[in-house]
């Protein structure tokens, strides 16, 4: 429980740090409004409905905090505003108020709100990592799900389990998921006279000599070497290849986070041991980081950070989008921007490690804060967004792949119809969208790569440091570095206890 002194101090902190992020902070009217949420099942689109009259004392104010995850984009903000308007118009007992802090400052602003005893009611869209940073602050939604008869079997079990992983109940209803895939450039494969990667999990790959091999990271390495070209057109397997003059790279890992830079694609694991206190480096993750490191500094089929930072290869933060990378591992949300990689990209199956495929997965949903003053009303709005009339516009706004199985089939059909400002279709025809749904069964659910770690923000800081080091420094002994990283993580974990 927060003391009044703590609240006061936190408010002083707000001033002291000039955060300038103060929410509505309104006290709710005392009206004990019974939840009027539509008894929506996930199979049906709910129509918003609520009391026709404003209750005595005025509507209950529900504050929606954004953006600990996505949502900063102007077009998204417009959709959010429209959804609030629609909801408020049909729920006279509730007034949803949008509380926006852009992603860069959102964690600080949200921390201040929590510490000052003034938490927003509903938060989202929010990924696993964003939620893990505030573990223990989320409301168990299971009683609300039961009361509203929401059918969780309509979702992939893995997606549901993702929100039960912390052992604190059901902290979210599956909404948008982003399985990962292998993106590739068919033209580069054609030019190198290489077979395309398999589009079905379990299929083998045909090497140039005709042999059939497993589609695993050894195979990817060999293929990536052949797809890495220098200025004179030599590939990385040929004599005379000049690694200082590379014009095309064979492979690009997901490099936003050390946990997804190879690691979570090799195996579902975490850096916190099961005892909840001890730092660990999972063997598969160590193998993944060595694979990526050697790919950068020894084999040269992955670009170093020095190259990645150059405008020619950066691709707006995702090197594959530069059009100079043959393959990349990334999440589905990258389809938004991969169109910049040229007009002929496609999707394929992810490779396996030690005979097992792991597809790192991101997921967004909405959560209610544990200390929300109006959890019933907040759930009513959450239900509107996640299973009700707000679901489709919201999914479209955040480019989210629906977690609801019955919605998944139509998702790619509508995606294929999307056109740019000039009326041209955005996505190439014949994209292997099927690999996206196939990947869900291989998702890293428990543990997810973004799962909780003690002292989360400080732990992340250690990971960012080693990500920068691995991608930017040649000649490292990765085993030694991982030993150091483990020690640093342990020190950070220990401080949390």
């Amino acid at each position: 429980m927060r003391t009044p002194l703590m609240r006061f101090a936190a408010l002083v902190a707000v001033t002291a740090l000039a955060f300038g992020a103060c929410g509505g902070g309104t006290t709710s009217p005392s009206a004990s409004t019974e939840s009027t949420a539509p008894s929506a099942t996930t199979a049906a689109v709910a129509t918003p409905s609520g009391p026709a009259t404003v209750p005595p004392g005025g509507p209950v104010q529900v504050r929606w905090f954004c953006c600990l995850g996505g949502g900063d984009d102007e077009s998204q903000q417009k959709t959010f505003a429209d959804l609030i308007k629609t909801f408020n118009a049909s729920h006279l007992n509730i007034k949803v108020v949008f509380d926006h802090t852009s992603y860069e400052g959102a964690r600080q602003a949200f921390s201040v709100k929590l510490a000052s005893g003034n938490p927003p009611d509903i938060v989202g869209p929010l990924g696993v990592g964003g939620a893990s940073a505030f573990e223990g602050q989320w409301l168990d939604l299971q009683p609300y799900v039961d009361r509203n008869k929401i059918d969780l079997s309509a979702y992939d079990q893995g997606a549901v389990d993702l929100y039960k992983a912390g052992g604190q109940g059901l902290l979210g209803i599956p909404f948008a998921i982003y399985p990962s895939e292998l993106y590739f450039q068919p033209d580069m494969f054609d030019e190198a006279k290489l077979e395309y990667p398999p589009v079905k999990y379990g299929d083998q790959y045909k090497m140039p000599d005709g042999s059939m091999v497993d589609w695993n990271y050894d195979t990817v390495r060999q293929v990536a070497l052949m797809l890495t070209l220098d200025k004179s057109g030599k590939n990385a397997t040929e004599a005379g290849f000049d690694p200082t003059k590379i014009v095309q790279y064979g492979f690009e890992p997901q490099r936003d986070d050390l946990r997804t830079m190879g690691a979570a694609f090799f195996a579902s694991a975490r850096l916190l041991a099961d005892d909840g206190k001890t730092a660990q480096i999972p063997d598969a993750w160590a193998a993944a980081w060595k694979w990526v490191y050697d790919g950068m500094w020894k084999d040269h089929f992955i670009m170093t950070d020095q190259v990645y930072r150059t405008p020619a290869f950066n691709g707006g933060g995702y090197a594959f989008n530069s059009g100079k990378v043959a393959m990349q591992e990334n999440f589905l949300w990258d389809v938004c921007c991969v169109t910049e990689a040229g007009g002929n990209w496609n999707l394929a199956a992810l490779p396996s490690y030690n005979g097992k495929v792991t597809a790192a997965m991101n997921a967004d949903t909405f959560r209610i804060t544990k200390n929300s003053k109006h959890p019933d009303e907040a759930f009513e709005f959450l239900n509107f967004l996640v299973t009700g009339a707000g679901k489709t516009p919201m999914l479209n706004a955040i480019s989210g792949f629906p977690a609801l199985k019955s919605d998944q089939g139509g998702y790619f059909a509508q995606l294929e119809q999307q056109k740019d400002d000039k009326g041209k279709l955005i996505y190439p025809s014949a994209i292997n969208w099927d690999v996206v749904t196939q990947a869900i069964q291989f998702a890293d659910i428990n543990p997810n790569s973004e799962a909780f770690m003690p002292n989360y923000n400080k732990s992340l800081d250690v990971l960012v440091k080693y990500l920068t080091r691995f991608t930017g420094t040649k000649g490292l002994n990765i085993d030694t570095e991982l030993g150091k990283m483990k020690t640093e993580l342990q020190a950070v974990f220990d401080k949390a206890s």
């Binding site: 600080q108 020095q306 440091k465 420094t473």
Partner: protein, 311 residues
């Protein structure tokens, strides 16, 4: 005595009182800003150093005495960061004080044609937004296709440095970036040079002093107040060095912790880890250190800084 009595407030004329009111009114925005954004936050952070306030904490707020200061003494990272800051200062300060002086000397030379153009050119980078400047330099120092290394390769350096990723070269790279900001110092030195009476040079020439002797016995002594001013500001700036490493490496301190400056560590404690108590403690430590160095410098000033008005 009578004069003092006349100046008592109750004897002020209506005009004086009205002017005083307007004066207070006009200065009020600054006073409010100073209170809200400087004095109160300073007092608040001092108070924080004796508490356990942390925006992520589960424990209730409590008074912890000097525990944060004790933690600071035992925090290896804080001392490493102080070492980083001092090492960088040893390189950056001489360059930041001496180079603008030399440039100002060149720009004030009578032999230089188009001095005005050069002054503008030297000052122009100073007005480029700092973050933009850092990003431009980051590209220029890129070992793959940055202009600096491309140039070095062109003149025969086979393996030019990775300026921002090699611990041996990173401070040189940062100092090079800092060169863009010397325009402000150059202007100050130029103003100082203009203020030196020409009679002193005439007298020195009559005494047979050449250029070097004039520089040593006239220019430098007369410029010591400006040098002192630049040095004090330089020390404060270098102890607060922060933005460049934050922009370059997202504040990771890479390569190898060599850019985790003390002020960056303060920022991370506050805004990364939300540990207001400990962040405030390091901030007050840095404030104390800066104050101490500045006081020592002021203490030495009377031995080497020449003020004509003191004579």
């Amino acid at each position: 005595m009578t004069a003092i009595a006349v100046r008592r407030p109750q004897r002020r004329s209506a005009l004086v009182r009205r002017e005083a009111r307007w004066g207070v009114l006009f200065i009020a925005p600054w006073i409010i800003g100073f209170l809200a954004f400087t004095l109160i936050p300073m007092v608040a952070t001092l108070a924080f150093t004796f508490t356990n306030i942390n925006l992520e904490q589960k424990d209730p707020l409590s008074f912890v005495g000097l525990r944060n200061y004790q933690a600071l003494l035992n925090d290896g990272q804080a001392w490493d960061s102080l070492g980083v800051t001092l090492r960088f200062a040893l390189i950056a300060l001489p360059v930041g004080v001496i180079l603008p002086f030399l440039v100002a000397l060149l720009l004030s030379s009578r032999q230089l044609k188009g001095a005005g153009v050069f002054r503008v050119l030297f000052f122009l980078p100073y007005v480029v937004p700092f973050v933009a400047g850092v990003l431009i330099w980051q590209t220029m120092l890129n070992p793959t296709d940055g202009w600096v290394d491309v140039f070095l390769r062109a003149i025969g350096v086979a393996d030019p440095p990775d300026w921002l990723r090699d611990t041996s070269w990173v401070y040189a790279g940062l100092v090079m970036m800092g060169l863009w900001g010397i325009g402000g110092g150059v202007i100050v030195y130029l103003a100082g040079l203009k203020g030196i009476p020409s009679e002193l040079y005439d007298a020195a020439r009559i005494d047979g002093a050449g250029y070097v002797a004039q520089l040593r016995h006239v220019t430098i002594p007369m410029l010591t107040p400006v040098i002192f001013y630049t040095l004090v500001l330089g020390i404060v700036e270098v102890l607060q060095y922060f933005l460049v490493p934050l922009v370059l490496n997202q504040g990771t301190g890479e390569p190898g912790g060599s850019t985790l400056f003390l002020n960056l560590y303060i920022y991370k404690s506050f805004f990364g880890y939300h540990d207001l108590a400990y962040g405030s403690t390091i901030a007050w430590f840095l404030f104390g250190l800066t104050l101490l160095i500045t006081l020592v410098l002021f203490g030495t000033a009377r031995r080497w800084v020449y003020y004509a008005s003191d004579r």
